[in-house]
Each structure stands twice: as structure tokens, then as C-alpha cells.
Amino acid sequence: MNILFDIASVLAISATLMMIISKNAVHALLYLIASLLAVSVIFFILGAPFAAALEVIIYAGAIMVLFVFVIMMLNVSSTEQKMEHELLKPKAWIGPSIISAILLGELVYMLASPTSHSMLIQEVLPRAVGKLMFSKYILVVDLAAFLLVAGIIGAYHLGQRKKISHHRYLKNENQTS
């Protein structure tokens, strides 16, 4: 089991790295999907099959398809070329990389404690997740529903075309002004 975990984590890290440095948006998206699938394998190994299924269905299946649609809608090939030159200069990426490397070093230093907790992994089935979600966390479920409704309304409002006033008084006002 340990070797499976190692392989999946190396895959996830390398796919994410390729996502960051790739120049084509569609290639980056495919690398991101590979990274998400590797993380889903890790969820299976850690005994969370419901979370792994949700990762594949919602992350890799729904959210990434939204990205694909938007990339296809916006024809980004003209802006790609300029980005490429900007990315190749080391001045552009060395500062942020140092910052996040320091952050990662701090995290690793905190994790490198002498006491090691080994997880005794047992499967947590969807029944337990559902029972807990609809008893203890029912208020948070409501809040998530509010958030999703707000997201739908916000996306609809932002994606609207130019505003047309159908009301005749407003139309007259616009014509006179």
C-alpha cells in the first residue's frame, strides 16, 4: 500500500508542476486533470472512497469541462505568444518561487517532528458521511446551498450580454439623453 501511495503522490506533484510550466492552456488543463485523478487515487488509499468518487465526478468531470468550454469559447492563441516570452525570463518567476519555497521549507520543518503518527487506515463508507453531514453539520449544508445559489445568480448576472431596457419610459429616457 505504501508504494502505491508514493507512486500516486509523485504523479500528482509532477503533473501539477507540468501544469504550472506548460504554455498551452489545453495542455495545462489536461495535466491538471491527471493531477486530480492522482489525488483521487490517494483518497482511495486513505480509505475515503466517497471523496474519491466525488473528486472524479465533480472536479475532473464537471469543473474541468467548464474550463474546457471557456478555453474553447475564448480564442486565446493571439495572447499566448506574448505570455510565452514573459514566462521564459527568469526575472518573472524567480521571486515568487523563492517565496513559496520558503513557505514550503517552514511547513516541512514543522512536520519534521521526531514523533511519527502512523495512520491505521479503515474505510469510512458513504453511509457514515451522510449521517454525519445531515445531523451535526446540517447548518453548514444550508450555508453551502446559499453559496451555490449566490454563485448561480452571480454567474448569470456577470455572463449577461449588454443590458437592454424593455420598459418604454426607460427607453425614452435613453433616447433623449
Partner: protein, 101 residues
């Protein structure tokens, strides 16, 4: 099946820092949104690892909430990207650095 908990948290930390690097380095809005996805996914992985260490379902419940939040965030973010592309004819974030009403 004996995986040290530190390995899982370490993987989550590495993925989070990679996403942070991508967010800081790239200037394309789509790449920035994808890096935010990676960071949120790493946060969910940390929750799952914590839940697996305790052996209860709380980690998975929090992962589901992170998933719902990500879905809402991505829908609004992609609508903003489309709006920005219509406005500026570009996906460069530096083009949108001036505030006009």
C-alpha cells in the same frame, strides 16, 4: 496499510505551494484560476488525511463543503473571465489593473 500521517500532510503542503507558485508566476487569468483549484484541492487533501488519521467521517464532510465552494467559485470566476475578455480583448491580468467605475 501503514502510511505515516506526515507523508500525506507533506504531499498536501507541496501541492499547495506549487499552486501558490503558479498563482504568483502566471499572468494569464485562466492559469491563475487553475492554480487556485490546485490550492483548494490540496486543502481538501489535508482534510481527508486528518479524517483518515482519526478514522472518522468529519474530514470527508469538510471535503464535500470545499467541493461545493470550489464549484461556486469556478462558475463566478469563469463568468468574470468571459466578461474581462469581452472588455479588454485579452486574458492578461495586468491589462485590468486600472480601476474605472
Amino acid at each position: 496499510m501503514n502510511i505515516p500521517m506526515e507523508q500525506g500532510i507533506l504531499l498536501a503542503a507541496i501541492l499547495f505551494c506549487l499552486g501558490l507558485t503558479g498563482l504568483l508566476v502566471r499572468r494569464n487569468v485562466i492559469f491563475m484560476l487553475m492554480s487556485v483549484e490546485v490550492m483548494l484541492n490540496a486543502a481538501g487533501l489535508a482534510f481527508i488525511v486528518g479524517g483518515a488519521a482519526q478514522g472518522n467521517a468529519d474530514g470527508q464532510v469538510m471535503f464535500i463543503f470545499i467541493l461545493a465552494m470550489t464549484a461556486a467559485e469556478v462558475s463566478v470566476g469563469l463568468a468574470l473571465i468571459i466578461r474581462m475578455f469581452k472588455e479588454f480583448k485579452s486574458l492578461d491580468i495586468d491589462k485590468a489593473s486600472t480601476m474605472r467605475g
